[in-house]
Amino acid sequence: MPIRRDSKGRYVEVELRRAEETLWLRCRECGELVFRRKLKETNHICPRCGAYFFLTAQERIASLVDRDTYAPIESGYASDDPLAFVDRRPYRERLDEAQAITGLNDAVVVGRGMVDGRPLLLAVMDFRFIGGSMGQVVGEEIAVALERAAELRIPFVLVVASGGARVQEGAVSLMQMAKTVAARNLLAAANVPFIAVFTYPSTGGMLASVASLADVTIAELGAMIGFAGPRVIEQTTGQRLPESFQTATFALEHGVVDQVVPRESLRAELARALLVLSGDHNG
């Protein structure tokens, strides 16, 4: 269960849990027991210490989109297990388990909605589903969302929570990088804006493809943003990593993102960006 702090002491905890299992959740930072319904009101921020609780895709959508404006776009795709991959466990089993825990087909949820009255096409990743990794279904769903946004001429917002490529789909997952970038180019040709929101984590093949090609990039405080894992970097280079390495602040300092905002401000930040980008002020 990875826990990560950034320089401002915010942290995100990630746990596999079923959607509505318990009434109470314990904050891993301060030990406070928080009523689950209370957390919804606080954007899943601990009311006592300010720590961030992990967000599922559905929780993220609810925290960003205007009430009662969200309409899912369900393609119903599920992974074919294209390599018939088996490591210590068959990939098929991992898929079944992730589907049972999350109630999702795969690691991304796509839909339409409004933020502050402005329409958008939204793709939100769910880290619980095999680390939010991008395989053939994530690639397909993001491509569909980009094409739909181009067709409807409404801004596309991608909320990233991904460890990278889906290793169990081998070169098939690698192709999803090209696929999502191809679809992103289509959106660009339609002159429709694309906003990326980086959360914990935004890494690997997801970051090295569609996620890095947004017009505007907003990072949530507590995000991890980077191409290679810290352990790989240490092992390859023998370098000691700076303390703030791959945090949202680090990304801002190195010109990788436009803004870093705390979770409670993310919705307003998105609304501000949409206001200036959407260009529907003339009617």
Binding site: L83, N105, V172, L174, A178, G205, S209, A228, V232, T237
Partner: protein, 318 residues
């Protein structure tokens, strides 16, 4: 790799016999012919028994034809362009305009280096943001001057370092993929040795993707997969098998278009032929691609990557 001591012994024997013949003492033509056919048979047998992990080792073979020496053997002329014009030059990812047969092209290629010093400087073919920004620059030139782009991919992956992250390696790779997909010229990628993950696809999103017979192409190295999924480095050969990273397997998955055959025993056993065969294959592909109208080429390219590795059927048709 498969035990090749028998092959090495035969090779040594052949050299010895040839020397004896040259010295003019005896006529050993028959013996030589016999040994040569035996050697060929052994090589074929060994080649046929190769596991996926053996292929990985062949793809990484220190004497494998690759990088600058291969380009120089393959091209009639090559003019290297250096630098990303933003502060650096990466010796691990190189390129420039070249002449291949009757075609003027823009070449991009990974370079691993042959001496230990050169290998260190090239980080064994792991390119940095500077490398991918140089490739972006060269693609711009190719687009302007209407030069088809040919990339020779041979990298363990993009370089994982603090500086790479500080200079946004992920963004550099993403931009390289994006530009390659939008080029107004035909594009061909050859997976030459190792096609390692993002560092490979950055310059491999082409109209045609060819693979050398013993090249590998994967989202992660077998070592990496063994560490992450098996949590056991000794599972590396197993991981190589599970990843389906060989050319025949990727052809079957329809992720590549064609396989370029290698000499029995691997490309390194006959570097000259490797260069000639690769040039001939590329020229043939270029002739076909250049006949296509550009609109059609770009449409087919979009379709190819839009449909690449798609899940076949929705589970729930609603």
């Amino acid at each position: 790799m498969v035990d090749d001591s028998a092959i090495r012994a035969l090779e040594a024997k052949l050299v010895e016999l040839r020397q004896m013949m040259e010295a003019g003492n005896v006529d050993l033509t028959e013996e030589l012919a016999m040994l040569e056919s035996k050697l060929l048979k052994l090589r074929r047998e060994q080649y046929a028994r190769m596991s996926e992990w053996d292929r990985v080792k062949l793809a990484r073979h220190p004497e494998r034809p690759r990088g600058l020496p291969l380009v120089e053997a393959m091209a009639h002329a090559f003019y290297e362009l250096r630098g990303d014009r933003m502060g650096g030059d990466d010796p691990a990812l190189r390129g420039g305009p070249a002449i291949l047969g009757d075609h003027r092209v823009m070449l991009l290629f990974h370079h691993r280096g042959s001496t230990p010093e050169e290998q260190r400087a090239c980080r064994h073919g792991m390119a940095t943001p500077e490398g991918y920004r140089k490739s972006l620059r060269l693609m711009e030139i190719a687009d302007r001057l209407k030069l088809p782009v040919i990339s020779l991919v041979d990298t363990p992956g993009a370089y994982p370092g603090v500086q790479s992250e500080e200079q946004n390696i992920a963004g550099a790779i993403a931009q390289s993929i994006s530009r390659m997909l939008s080029l107004n010229v035909p594009t061909i990628a050859v997976i030459l040795g190792e096609g390692g993950s993002g560092g490979a696809i950055a310059v491999a999103a082409a109209d045609r993707v060819l693979m050398m017979e013993n090249a590998t192409y994967s989202v992660i190295s077998p070592e990496g997969a063994a560490a992450i999924l098996w949590k056991d480095p000794s599972a590396t050969p197993q991981a190589a098998q599970a990843l389906r990273l060989t050319a025949p397997q990727l052809l079957e998955l329809e992720l590549i278009d064609a396989i370029v055959p290698e000499a029995i025993g691997g490309a390194h056993t006959d570097p000259k032929r490797t260069a000639e065969d690769l040039r001939a294959t590329l020229c043939q592909q270029l002739t076909t691609l250049c006949e296509r109208p550009l609109d059609e080429l770009r449409h087919l390219r979009y379709k190819r990557y839009r449909n690449a590795g798609s899940a076949r059927t929705p589970t729930d048709p609603s």
